[in-house]
Every structure is written in structure tokens, then in C-alpha cells.
């Protein structure tokens, strides 16, 4: 790294020192020291000057000695001068060697000491010292090494930080995907799994955390799903294939929609598949219920329509020759028209209840009068079958806040059923009892009764009891369903108890909270 690329977070003094020392001793350090020796240069060159003088003196002395030896005339003065010159020469050499030794030894010791301090403190700082020309390059190189190490350390910590961020983000994505109810699976083009979340585990033979990098064949047990996943991906990124599957280790009725979308890279090249497993059990159930409802409605509407059409056609064709036959045909057409009308009413009531648009218009209502009014609706049918009809109500039956029209539907449904399923000369009765929590109205008959298995389902939509006698009675299987819905809208309920061939009792319960404690305006409305 050049000095210009140094990080900006260095302290200014350090940076300045580094730049100065680095430039003085770095790539062009030697050149700088030769070009600009500075103010200390005469001092540095003094030992060398002394040494040079001593050597010159020694040379002069040697030459002089040679000359004297040839002349053979040695005087004491000459000997003294010679000794003096010899001493001066030796001193010069000593100074020369001492300075040379000190100029290397002192900076080296300083460098050693500072490096030891750096190691001890484990803090990389550049060396600041008055380096001589001998050690300038060394100091520069050491500082450069320190700087490079610091940069590497910084890069390392940056990488570590980036790695931590990546791990945190990866965990966050995994936790988010694990919290999803939809199973997610990523498969590479090489048929190896990249990722699976927890919701995808029912479709895997291994825990979701262990599938990364494994072959599809190792992780997916269901052959149908496996062949779907191993199908070659479409060449266009973003396209999707779909299938439905019931996983082996899920409840038998569970249905999952499996959607495989191709994963594309930046250049829209397909690099794998992203597979989603969505639980569509409830959607399927709703679809099935809707289909069942439409089917049942169609059947119930077409049955009376078939009778009407057929009897009219036979009348047109003149198949009813006598008056009795004609009367019978007309009566059937009339009854079947009524049946159609009731069915349509029931369907409308169901629609209102189920859609939630029904408004319970609660008004204070005398329960006794409500029962008597409802009974009058079925009076003619009771008389036709010569049934005994008993109304056994207490004298002081309270007034209740209910939707009068809805309660009328409930009572007419129950009384109508009692009439329909009770053979001629049978008995129907209506009675009431009260408890601390509720008021109970019972509609009983001595009819054909309901089998135990049917009794549990009579309140289901479109359910009709099988068995002897039931098939003779036309009906849609909606009346009791609507009865229960209406009673529940009032905070009450309807229950049934029955014995085959002995009779049936339906009981509706109205909560005490619906009882009108103060008649108030009710007395005037009556």
C-alpha cells in the first residue's frame, strides 16, 4: 500500500511521521538521504574525516620512515614525531570504529526495545526515532511492515464484521421462513437441495436443517412428489407448475397444493426451483361443501318440479280419465308447488343466516300466543290426519324478547315435522317447562321415531333420515338445520330425543336473559 492509500483514521501526527519516515526510507529513501543529508551531516562525517586524516598521516609517516631508513640518520626528535603520529593514527582509527559501531548498535537496540514494547502492548504503532542513515531504511521498512499488518488486521476485522452481518441476516431469513405456515423448498438445477423450512418437513425424510446440499432422492420419500420435483425446469425463469398431494404423515383428509416456480438469476437464466407447499384442505372442504350444497339444492328443486311436469304431461295426454284421478293429479301438483315454495323460503332463510345479513328483530312476545299462532298454521294438516293435538302450557308462561317471525318458522317446522312423521290417529303435544337458566318448549309426537345414528345428524344441512316410513314423506332436509340456526341466533338451541316406532321429542331452549321482566309498553302493544 502506498502512503497515499493509507486509511484516514490514523492520527494526524502518526500519519505525518509515517509519511516522513516512510518516504525517507522507503522506495526512494536512499536517494533522499543522499540528496538531503541535512544539518546533521557534518557531525556524521566527522569520524570519517578524522579517520581519513589519520590514514593520510600514517601514509606520510610511512613515507618519511622509508626515507629516513634510507638516509640512516635517525634523531630523537624524529622518533618523538613518529610516535606522536602513530598515536594520532591509532586514535583516529579507534574513533572511526567506535562511531561506526555506535551508529549501528544504538538504533538497533532502540528498534529492538520498541518492537518488544509493540509486542507487549499488542498495539501496532509506527516507530518514531532519530534514525541515522544506517538504520533509516530499516526503520522505514519496519514501519511499512507495521502499516501493512495494521491494514491486514483491519481487513480481517471488516471481514469478520461482514461475516457476522451475513450470518445474522441469514438467520433472520431462516427464522422468518420457519415461522411461515407454507412449506418452502429451494432446489438447485443439479437436483441438490439448497434450503427447506420447517413447514416443509412433512414432505421430507430428513429434518429441514440437514437437507442443504443433499440430493433430492435422499430427502424426498414420496415418489409422486419426487418425480414432480425432478422434472426438468422450464427454460423461462418465473414460470410455475402445480400439483396436489396428501402427505403420508399428515391427517388423511389433508390436501396440499405444491407449486414449483423456476428461480432465475440476474440474467434470467434458470438456476433451480422454488417449491411452495400450501395447505388447501379447508379450501377443498369449502369447495366440496359448496358443491354438495348446490347439488342438494338442484336435487331438491328438481324433484317437485319433476312431479309437477310429469303430472301435467299426463293430464295433457289424457291419462287421467276419471274425475278422482284428475283430482289426485291436481292435488299432487298443488302440494308439490307448495313444497317448491317452502324450499325456496328455506333456502332464502339459510342464505340470510349464513351470509350474516339476517337481522334478529327482538320484540317482547307472549310465548303462549306465539305457540298458539304457530299451531293454527298446521291445524288443517292435523285434522286431515285425524291426530290428537294437546297444548299443555302453564298459566303463567313469561313473555320473551325474540324475533316473532323467526320463532314462528321454528315452531311451524317442528309441528310440521311432527304431523308429517306421525301416522294417522297418532298424538302430538306441545308443552313447556322452565329452569333457572332457560325456558324449554317441547314438541312431541307418537310418530315413526328417529334411529340413533340419524338423531345425531338431523340438524345437518340436507340430511334426511333413511328407514321405513321416512321415504314416504317429502322433505328437503333443511327445516331442522334452519331451526337450529335460528335458535342459536337467539342464544338458545334445539335438541332431539327419540325412539324408533315410539315417537320423537324436539325441545327448544330460550335463555332466561330473553325473558321480559317489565312488560312496560308490551302491555299496550298486546
Amino acid at each position: 500500500m502506498s502512503s497515499g492509500e493509507r486509511p484516514t483514521h490514523n492520527r494526524p501526527d502518526e500519519s505525518a511521521a509515517l509519511i516522513q519516515e516512510g518516504s525517507a526510507s522507503g522506495d526512494n529513501g536512499g536517494k533522499m538521504s543522499r540528496q538531503n543529508p541535512g544539518a546533521r551531516a557534518p557531525r556524521r562525517f566527522l569520524p570519517f574525516a578524522v579517520a581519513a586524516c589519520s590514514i593520510i598521516c600514517a601514509c606520510v609517516f610511512g613515507a618519511l620512515g622509508t626515507f629516513v631508513a634510507r638516509s640512516e640518520s635517525m634523531t630523537p626528535a624524529f622518533i618523538g614525531v613518529t610516535v606522536l603520529v602513530a598515536v594520532a593514527t591509532l586514535g583516529g582509527w579507534q574513533v572511526l570504529f567506535w562511531r561506526a559501531f555506535r551508529s549501528v548498535q544504538v538504533p538497533m537496540a532502540t528498534v529492538k526495545f520498541k518492537l518488544a514494547k509493540i509486542l507487549e502492548a499488542q498495539e501496532l504503532r509506527p516507530l518514531h526515532m532519530k534514525n541515522g542513515i544506517e538504520t533509516a531504511e530499516l526503520i522505514g521498512l519496519i514501519n511499512k511492515l507495521i502499516e501493512t499488518t495494521k491494514s491486514s488486521q483491519k481487513s480481517g476485522s471488516e471481514l469478520e464484521f461482514a461475516n457476522k452481518v451475513l450470518i445474522r441476516e441469514r438467520d433472520r431469513v431462516r427464522h422468518t421462513l420457519d415461522s411461515m405456515g407454507t412449506g418452502v423448498l429451494a432446489v438447485g438445477s443439479d437436483q441438490r437441495l439448497i434450503f427447506a423450512n420447517r413447514a416443509a418437513e412433512p414432505f421430507l425424510t430428513l429434518p429441514a436443517k440437514e437437507v442443504a446440499g443433499k440430493w433430492l432422492q435422499e430427502c424426498v420419500g414420496d415418489q409422486q412428489l419426487l418425480s414432480f420435483l425432478t422434472e426438468p425446469a422450464s427454460n423461462t425463469a418465473g414460470t410455475a407448475d402445480r400439483m396436489e398431494i396428501s402427505p403420508e404423515n399428515a391427517p388423511s383428509s389433508s390436501v396440499f397444493s405444491v407449486t414449483a416456480s423456476t428461480i432465475g438469476d440476474d440474467k434470467q437464466r434458470v438456476s433451480g426451483k422454488c417449491v411452495l407447499f400450501q395447505d388447501v384442505t379447508n379450501v377443498k372442504r369449502a369447495e366440496s361443501a359448496r358443491e354438495e350444497f348446490v347439488n342438494s339444492v338442484a336435487h331438491e328443486l328438481r324433484t317437485p318440479l319433476t312431479s309437477i311436469k310429469a303430472y301435467v304431461e299426463m293430464l295433457i295426454d289424457g291419462e287421467a280419465t276419471d274425475g278422482d284421478a284428475k283430482r289426485e293429479f291436481y292435488n299432487i301438483i298443488y302440494e308439490e308447488t307448495d313444497r317448491l315454495n317452502r324450499l325456496i323460503d328455506n333456502l332464502l332463510n339459510i342464505s340470510r343466516v349464513e351470509v350474516g345479513t339476517v337481522v334478529v328483530n327482538r320484540t317482547p312476545t307472549r310465548l303462549k300466543k306465539l305457540i298458539e299462532d304457530s299451531a293454527s298454521v298446521v291445524e288443517s294438516q292435523i285434522a286431515k290426519k285425524q291426530l290428537q293435538f294437546d297444548i299443555d302450557l302453564p298459566d303463567r308462561l313469561p313473555a320473551v324478547e325474540v324475533d316473532k317471525d323467526m320463532m314462528n318458522v321454528v315452531l311451524v317446522n317442528l309441528l310440521g315435522n311432527a304431523v308429517k312423521y306421525t301416522p294417522e290417529n297418532g298424538r302430538i303435544s306441545i308443552s313447556s317447562t322452565s329452569t333457572a337458566e332457560e325456558i324449554v318448549v317441547n314438541v312431541s309426537d307418537t310418530g315413526i321415531g328417529i334411529a340413533e345414528e340419524d338423531a345425531q345428524r338431523v340438524f345437518d344441512k340436507f340430511y334426511r333420515c333413511g328407514g321405513k316410513g321416512n321415504d314416504e314423506v317429502p322433505g328437503s332436509g333443511l327445516g331442522l338445520y334452519i331451526t337450529r340456526q335460528i335458535m342459536r341466533l337467539h342464544g338458545g338451541d334445539v335438541t332431539v330425543s327419540s325412539r324408533l316406532a315410539e315417537g320423537t321429542q324436539f325441545s327448544i331452549t330460550i335463555p332466561r336473559s330473553a325473558v321480559v321482566t317489565s312488560l312496560g309498553d308490551y302491555e299496550h302493544d298486546r
Binding site: 358443491e291 338442484a298 324433484t303 319433476t306 310429469a310 333413511g466 321415504d471 317429502p474
Partner: protein, 129 residues
């Protein structure tokens, strides 16, 4: 000449009455039952040349009755007219009928006149001269 027997199975008494009256008027011997179980029991006791059954009935429905017929060697090839008021499953009904074989679907509301024509065609084609 002995009248050919046709079994009519329907939980609706009026439908049984209409079909019975129309077929009896054409000279057929008509036996009726109100659900699949009763109809199957009736088929064991009479030598029927045709079965007319409703699809939706309590206890045993029309398809169950057809399947039971196909398992009984005596009535395995008995022609069946399946009367259905179903709308959403008409394709499903026809597909299942094809699987069981020799089943003809009639939709409600049907014309007794046309039903009689279809019965006559079927009985004549099925009965060897």
C-alpha cells in the same frame, strides 16, 4: 304373454307413482322400492329386464346400487336408467356410469312420455327375439 318386469327405485313416492303408472299403462310389470337396499333385495327376488333408479337416496344411493348390481353375476348386465337431479356432477356421473357399463342417465325433470320411449328401446334391444 308374461309382462316384462321393471324395478323402479326412488325415495320420492310421487316419482315412483308417475313412472309406475306410465310403465304399467304400457304393459310392463312394475315393482318399486324406496331406497337402494330395498331395491337390491327386490332385484334378488324378481327377474327384472330393467332397473330405473334415482341417484340420491337415503341409506343406499343410486351408484352404490348400480355397483352392487355389477357385482351380482345374475344381474351383472342388467340395463339401468339412472335418474339424476344433479347439476355440478353431471360429468362425474357420466364418467362413473361408463365405468360400470350399460347405464343410461336421465336428468330431472324428465318427461314420462320420453322415459317410456327410452325404456321400450332398451328393453327391446336387450331382449333376444
Amino acid at each position: 304373454m308374461i309382462a316384462k318386469t321393471i324395478v323402479v327405485v326412488d325415495d320420492e313416492p310421487h316419482i315412483r307413482h308417475i313412472i309406475g303408472r306410465k310403465l304399467q299403462g304400457a304393459g310392463y310389470d312394475v315393482r318399486t322400492a324406496s331406497d337402494g337396499e330395498e331395491g337390491l333385495a327386490l332385484l334378488q327376488t324378481v327377474r327384472a329386464c330393467l332397473l330405473i333408479t334415482d341417484l340420491q337416496m337415503p341409506r343406499m344411493g343410486g351408484f352404490e346400487l348400480c355397483a352392487a348390481c355389477r357385482e351380482d353375476p345374475r344381474i351383472r348386465t342388467l340395463p339401468i336408467i339412472l335418474v339424476t337431479g344433479s347439476v355440478v356432477r353431471s360429468a362425474d356421473v357420466r364418467a362413473k356410469s361408463e365405468v360400470l357399463g350399460n347405464i343410461y342417465c336421465v336428468s330431472k325433470p324428465f318427461s314420462p312420455r320420453k322415459l317410456l320411449q327410452q325404456v321400450q328401446e332398451l328393453v327391446e334391444s336387450e331382449t333376444p327375439e
